[in-house]
Amino acid sequence: MATSVPTLDYWAPLVCLIAFVILIAVTYLFRSRGRKQYKKGTAQTEIFLSGEEPPDTEERHIRAYNIYWGFFQGLKRYYDPTIKAHSGIINDYIIWLIALMSITAVILTIVSLT
């Protein structure tokens, strides 16, 4: 038995917004209480990497191809055929169209006969 779904009347985004503003204000408060007497341009403001020399700027940035690498490896069996299906050839697109049109017509015919 289906139950009536509620409408959006109970959803109050303004409350969320007010909570967000309060959170920002509290964060700013914490930040403003930080130490201001540090010396710019000294070791105090440089990157500390367990005493090692930090890599160059270009090397420090994590590039897009590194992100979710493990996810793609884990789903290799899904991704390989899916990417292959996106061949970029217009003839393939039309074949898909004809195939889906045929399947839909057959389904509609069978349903109307039953």
């Binding site: 779904v5 917004l17 994590i62 015919t109």
Partner: protein, 521 residues
């Protein structure tokens, strides 16, 4: 003012059409005058859409008969059926009209700076206005043949705009693919229209809906129409053209091609609910739409996650988010012939799907513009080559964050509100649908986190140290869509009660659409 309201359905189509033909002439005199003409025409069209919308919500459906003694006379004396060209604008049509007019205006303003250095701007703006005409015509027309005509206008102008930057090989290829796909789709629509005319001697949608027998030929026509508009809507497994066409399209045009895609989705809904309506085997077609929606959501988002081209990634999200719209409206369609289920969750599902349509038009339009802003300044769409842009392009970064959080369904943004409606309603039909939809939303957030991390955060890269924020008109274009996104986020109940529920009710109420043209006949 009354005359303006009465004639507004045709003016909304005629004004951008007239401006399209004037644009090449004015361009000969002054580029600035041409820009003013284009923006003024689209701004006035937007104004007329709002005026007409207000009147429709107060007084109901507007019909406009071309060539009649009075625009509201739909059936001539001594005739039993409508024979003239009729525009029929109900709450659903005007809902789609608001979306198209707003996105096209924002796209045109954005384009002012973005195509300033390009040649052939007179043709660009002519095509841009024609694309607007095609969308609004499809949304307002009351007959099948004009649906085909406006679909052709939309397709030809869309293909030419996608291929506008002919110096890029992928732009020409994208435009060519869009043209082939659109031509095949339009031929299917024309063939279906021919089937209707051969059977019923009618072209008017309301008259056809009244006469519909749901014969074998009607089923063939339904198949042709559903497949044609599903393909034009970018539904899986007919979505292949979407990333190829969206990726190289010029800035400002991508959101407009996207709103053209949504106009085709509107046509799909109109065909299923209004033309066939109660005659339809609703459960079968509903589940076909639901399956296409679920596949679109999943395939679209997983492919998006894998991309490193920022615009191609966003193009795959067009497919994925289109899946939510198909799912929502598909659930409503599946229970169309079950009044109890329709009342308890079907109407809410349709409303959720429609709310996501307009939400997505705004935040996806915004995201496509931010993607193009990166390309405009960096000269590359490759995320692997980007980094640290939040330092140089602060406003673009903020606009991107608004769009990314909204599309990922993060509260309190509008994407959350529309997805919540879809989740709750789809759960009543089958909980698995909601589970898939939620997983897709999480992967969407992961995908945009990747873009944010790669393009905007990280250390300042030396090759981009001189990069500046995009010009003001591009910021204004993004600002319009960001403003609409924030407004819809803060007042979702107002939007749903004012434009979404009336649109969903108009879609369900086939009799009202028929009676507006056929009267007591």
């Amino acid at each position: 003012m009354d005359a303006l309201v009465i004639h507004s359905p045709i003016l909304i189509i005629a004004i951008p059409l007239l401006a399209a033909f004037l644009t090449p002439l004015i361009s000969k005199a002054s580029n600035r005058a041409r820009d003013v003409l284009v923006i003024a025409a689209l701004a006035f069209t937007e104004f007329l859409v709002i005026v007409l919308a207000k009147d429709i919500y107060l007084t109901g459906i507007h019909v406009y008969t071309l060539g009649a003694s009075s625009p509201i006379v739909t059936i001539p004396e001594q005739y039993m059926v409508p024979v003239r060209i009729i525009l029929e604008v109900d709450a659903m049509s005007i809902f789609a009209g608001i979306m198209s007019a707003t996105v096209c205006l924002a796209g045109a303003i954005y384009s002012l700076s973005c195509v300033r250095e390009e040649t052939g701007k007179d043709r660009f703006y002519t095509l841009l206005l024609l694309l607007t005409v095609g969308q609004l015509g499809m949304e307002f027309t009351g007959d099948m043949f004009n649906l085909f005509v406006f679909l052709e206008i939309l397709s030809i102008s869309g293909a030419a705009l996608a291929a506008f930057r002919t110096r890029f090989a992928d732009a020409v290829e994208g435009g060519f693919k869009y043209m082939v796909i659109s031509s095949v789709g339009a031929l299917l629509v024309l063939f279906a229209t021919g089937i209707f005319y051969a059977q019923y001697n009618l072209l008017n949608i309301a008259a056809l809906a009244q006469a519909m027998q749901y014969t074998m030929l009607d089923k063939i026509a339904l198949t042709l129409l559903v497949i044609a508009f599903l393909m034009k809507s970018g539904g899986v497994p007919l979505h292949w053209w979407v990333p190829d066409t969206y990726t190289p399209a010029p800035a400002g045009v991508s959101p407009m091609i996207y709103s053209a895609t949504l106009a085709c989705m509107y046509a799909l809904y109109r065909i299923c609910f209004t033309l066939y309506g109660v005659a339809l085997n609703a459960a079968t077609i509903g589940w076909i739409v639901i399956i296409a929606g679920v596949l679109s959501m999943f395939v679209g988002v997983t492919m998006a996650l894998h991309q490193s081209d920022v615009k191609r990634l966003m193009a795959y999200h067009v497919i994925s988010q289109g899946g939510y719209m198909l799912l929502g409206v598909g659930v409503g369609l599946a229970v169309l012939d079950n009044p109890e289920a329709l009342a308890t969750y079907g109407r809410e599902a349709i409303s959720g799907g429609l709310f996501h349509v307009i939400n997505h038009a705004f935040f996806k339009g915004l995201l496509l513009l931010t993607g193009e802003a990166l390309f405009y300044r960096l000269g590359t769409r490759d995320l692997n080559k980007m980094g640290g842009m939040a330092r140089n392009m602060k406003f673009t970064c903020v606009f991107f964050l608004i769009g990314a959080l909204a599309i990922s369904g993060v509260p309190p943004l509008n994407g959350f509100a529309s997805k919540l409606m879809i989740y709750e309603a789809a759960y009543q039909l089958n909980p698995i649908l909601t589970i898939v939809a939620m997983i897709v939303s999480i992967i969407t957030l992961a995908s945009f986190t990747k873009v944010f991390q790669s393009a905007y955060t990280g250390p300042a890269l030396s090759q981009y140290k001189d990069v500046k924020e995009v010009p003001m008109s591009m910021l204004i274009g993004m600002g319009i869509l960001a403003g609409a996104t924030i407004f819809f986020s803060l007042f979702p109940s107002l939007v749903v009660n004012t434009i979404i529920y009336p649109a969903a009710d108009a879609l369900i109420d086939q009799a009202a659409y028929i009676n507006a043209v056929m009267g007591g006949v």
